[in-house]
Symmetry: C2
Subunit: 157 residues, 2 copies
DNA sequence: GGGTAGACTTTCTTCAAGCAAGCCAGATCC
DNA sequence: GGATCTGGCTTGCTTGAAGAAAGTCTACCC
C-alpha cells in the first residue's frame, strides 16, 4: 500500500499514539498480553499469521510496548514478551474500546466487565473506578470475559 | 494484503471495536470531526488521499459513526458528515490515546489538554473529570491543542 | 462560455496481509 | 542414534489496499 503514513512526529498526541497503536493486531496482541500471554505460541491463538506476528512483536518491542526477555525453560533458552510500563499504560485505550464495543456492538452472549479489585464492582470508566472515583491501572483491575463468565482474570503488567 | 481479518462477530468487545476503529485514518477522521470538520474538503487537511478518504467516510457512515446530511449551501445541495451518538461515544478512545501520547511520546512544543468546561480544569482521565469525578462527554469537554495553545476548542457532537 | 469549487472516481504502482511451507535447534521417544 | 515433536521463527507467493496524481461531474460565478 505504498509506505503507510508516518505520524510519529506529528504535533498532535492522538496522531502520535495512532502511529503506534493504529493497527488491529497491535491492539489485539496487547489484549492477549494483558490476559497473560507471553510466548509466540500463545499469541498465535489470535489467528494472526506467523510472519505478521513476528513483525508485530518486533515492532512492539522497538516501540517500547513489550520487552523481550530470555529465560531458561528447562535449560533451553526461551523468550517471552512482557508488557513494559508504556505497554501497560495503554490499558485505558483497551478499556475504552471494550466499553464502546459492549455498548454499540453488543452480543447476547455475556458481557465483558472491568472489575475494580478493591471494591469488587465493575467500572464504566476506562481508567477510573466509577464507584470509588480512584484511578485504576492494570494492578487494580480484573476482567470478566464473555467466554469465561465465571472467572475473574487479573491482568499482567 | 489479501482480505483483512474480520472481528465484527468476535466474542470479545475489544475485538469488535478494533474491527471498527482499528485503522489510523478512522481515528484521525474522528479527531477532525470532533474538532468541527464536516465537509470532504475539510477532512482532506489530514493529508489523506482522496480515494482513501472517500472510502473511509463511506465506511464510517455504514458503521454508524458518521451521518451524511444533505443541506443546501446557497441553493446547491451539499453534504456534510456529522458525528452520530456512536461516533461521539468514541471520545474516550481518542482521549486515552491523547493521554498516552502526551506521556509516552512527548514533544517539547505544547501539550494537549482535555478541559472540563464545568470546572475549567484539565482532566487526566479519558472519560471522567479527575477533579470533579463526574463523567465527561463531548458536551462537557474542550480541547487545548498544541498548535493553538491559547484557544479552547469546544467539541462537535 | 471559461473558470472555479466541492466531492468524488479512476488509474497506476508499491507494499503489506494472509496463507502455506520450510527451517533450525533442543528435547523426547523408541 | 535416528525419527519425531515443539517453539520460534523465515521465505515465497498472491492479492488487495494505500498512496499519488489525474480525471469527472455538477453547479455557481463573472
Amino acid at each position: 500500500m505504498a509506505l503507510r503514513s508516518d505520524w510519529s512526529a506529528d504535533s498532535c498526541p492522538i496522531a502520535r499514539s495512532v502511529d503506534v497503536v493504529g493497527d488491529p493486531w497491535v491492539l489485539l496482541v496487547l489484549r492477549e498480553a494483558f490476559e497473560g500471554a507471553t510466548r509466540f505460541e500463545e499469541f498465535r491463538a489470535l489467528g494472526i499469521a506467523d510472519n505478521v506476528l513476528s513483525r508485530r512483536l518486533a515492532g512492539m518491542v522497538e516501540a517500547g510496548l513489550l520487552e523481550r526477555a530470555t529465560y531458561d525453560g528447562g535449560n533451553r533458552p526461551r523468550h517471552r514478551y512482557l508488557l513494559t510500563g508504556a505497554g501497560a499504560d495503554l490499558l485505558p485505550v483497551l478499556h475504552a474500546l471494550a466499553l464502546w464495543g459492549e455498548r454499540h456492538r453488543p452480543r447476547s452472549t455475556g458481557r465483558m466487565e472491568l472489575v475494580h479489585e478493591a471494591c469488587g464492582r465493575p467500572t464504566q470508566s476506562a481508567d477510573t473506578c466509577s464507584h470509588c472515583h480512584v484511578p485504576v491501572t492494570a494492578a487494580d483491575v480484573s476482567w470478566r470475559l464473555p467466554k469465561h463468565p465465571e472467572a475473574l482474570l487479573p491482568l499482567a503488567r
